[in-house]
Amino acid sequence: MSYHCIVCVKQVPDTSRITGDVMKPDGTLNRAVLPAVFNHDDLNALEAALSVRDSHGGTVTVVTMGPMGAAEVLRESLYRGVDRAVIVNDRRAAGSDTLATGYILSQAIRKIGRYDFVFCGRQAIDGDTAQVGPQLAEKLGLVQITYFEKILELSDRTVRLRRNVGNGWEVLETRLPLLLTVLDTANEPRPAAARRVMQYKRARTVGEAACEISAAMPDATEQKRDAEQAVRIEKLKMNDLLIEQWDLDDIEADLQWCGISGSPTKVHRVQSIVLTKEGYTELPPTEEGIRGLIHELIVDHTLG
């Protein structure tokens, strides 16, 4: 029996690279200069799906929600072997908290249609909340297994698997369909396949194609651009290089559950903390300086 898998992936700012120049003078983040990367745990989710397909046959579809640039993680997924890639891109989705995001993804997955497994990464590094997976499962009416590590047995509609909760593990058995959030220790994500990179590096969404054409023909009339765009999209389609791009209408999302209005949690205020530099005793990095420090700590009973 073969299985249809859907993988939810996210493009995230690389939080391990937050350095001085990433901060604006007002203490907020300048996202533009922070490199955007494939959320690491999502690569493990992708790998888990691909390996189900490797051993049982079937399909793997990736879906992401995000700004146009997030199509990059879809290309990365195509390089690794997915059959189909979809981006949900809509300004009205901006400001979505985890609950609204879960809802929007659930509508996209309903539109994709058939599935036996939905895979998510354990969490995204920009928020570490680990909330979207369980919320998506609930919206789809699916069983959720978080901290998934491996499938032990899969036959027909029954799956036996292992989850690892840090201080122990469990073996669970349930029936398909279900949603899994995948640990980074679950597997070793495969690298991009060179042949597929050659094949898919020119894959584009409609939005990306339009942007590229506008940039290439700054002085052209709108009509001319539109015509050029139609030709380009036709070509992408013919070569199987058009990445599907949906907006909230395409997935029949109820707008009251999307974006800011669909998000119960609201940001009340953001404070930057002013760090005061004074108040600590500086010691020279010398044997003497350090001996003095240790002495002081022993005398006041902090040590020993």
């Binding site: 908290d97 570490d128 940001v267």
Partner: protein, 342 residues
């Protein structure tokens, strides 16, 4: 979601496994007590399990006025769906205004499922919870006495205050150790209310075949001294320096998330917003820049020593002693100095 209920109680989901309560639930009972007093309402805990009624008394001692106890064989070991069913039913019935969960693997599995079913808000990994007012900027509508859910925001030195004024209950998860564990008062009295919840076939569709739990290997919260290493340590081999210094001072090993992500040391050593919050007598930060998410987990340490070769690193702003220098040179000197004194 439930309608706003200003008389609603402040709830804690009481996490128990193998008939023992997770300490974070007791910490949260203390916080719930505080919030409930501010709001002049009652604090309650929800305890689900099989033959665990006895645990109610500890929850009461730590601040709960009431314990809703659900006793059912299906609840003996945690599974998402039956536990979510219990919480959703009880929330719909009693309409608490606030529900708090430990940000443990169990709490992080359960709370978002409940939030989705109740269409309510949920803020992860709060480092502080307060009561305060909020004025909607567009309408000038004032919402009084909301739970302010405070957490470091991604990047920089930014603290965000999150609120939820229309889709109640207001829910948050909190890591272990963030709220102080107060001494329980065994003389406190409270009510134990038994509740019954029915399960359907779907709730029970996951079967637990085998289960294994390990005793916790390290307890950072209890350590008197912590030596923590960050990305600046460089690699797993050099992280031995951190272990060596911890050995010399008789302390535990901590780490920043960058060190954990780099594979230098296991995730159970992580200090910070999404790790453990610690308040040792001495915290030695080596090669840690001091991002707000890290500081949130250690700045209340009684004494902090920072070793970093970048004078501008924000870790120095919370330090009592600072050594601007290469940790590869400084740490061996420290070990030597300690050995000389011993």
């Amino acid at each position: 979601m439930i309608e706003q209920n200003r008389k609603g109680e402040v709830w804690v989901f009481a996490e128990q496994e193998d008939e023992s309560l997770n300490e974070v639930s007791l910490e949260l009972c203390g916080k719930a007590r505080e919030l409930a007093d501010r709001l002049s309402v009652r604090a309650a805990a929800v305890l689900a399990g099989w033959n665990v009624r006895e645990l109610s008394y500890r929850l009461i001692a730590h601040g709960a006025d009431k314990v809703y106890y659900v006793h059912d064989t299906h609840l003996e070991h945690y599974r998402t769906l039956p536990y979510a069913r219990v919480m959703c039913r009880l929330i719909a019935k009693h309409k608490p205004q606030i529900v708090l969960y430990g940000a443990t693997p169990l709490g992080r599995d359960l709370a978002p499922r409940i939030a989705s079913e109740m269409r309510a808000g949920l803020t992860a990994d709060c480092t502080d919870l307060q009561i305060g007012d909020y004025t909607e900027p567009k309408t000038n509508a004032v919402h009084k006495n909301l739970m302010l859910q405070i957490r470091p925001a991604f990047g920089g030195n930014i603290i965000a205050t999150i609120i939820n004024y229309d889709r109640w209950p207001q829910m948050a998860t909190v890591r272990e150790g963030v709220m102080r564990l107060r001494d329980g008062d065994p003389k406190r009295s409270g009510e134990i209310i038994e509740e019954k919840v029915e399960f359907n076939d779907f709730d029970l569709v996951v079967r637990l075949i085998e289960r294994h739990r390990e005793k916790r290997k390290i307890n950072l919260k209890a350590a008197r001294t912590i030596v923590a290493g960050g990305a600046g340590v460089g690699n797993k081999e050099d992280f031995q320096l951190i272990h060596d210094l911890a050995g010399a001072v008789g302390g535990a090993v901590g780490a920043s998330r960058a060190a954990v992500d780099g594979g230098f040391v296991g995730a159970e050593h992580q200090v910070g917003q999404t790790g453990t919050t610690v308040r040792p007598a001495l915290y030695i930060a080596c090669g840690i820049s001091g991002a707000v998410q890290h500081r949130a987990g250690m700045e209340e340490s009684a004494k902090i020593i920072a070793i970093n070769w970048d004078r501008e690193a924000p870790i120095f702003s919370v330090a009592h002693f600072g050594i601007v220098g290469d940790l590869r040179k400084v740490i061996p000197m420290m070990i030597k100095a300690i050995k000389e004194r011993a």
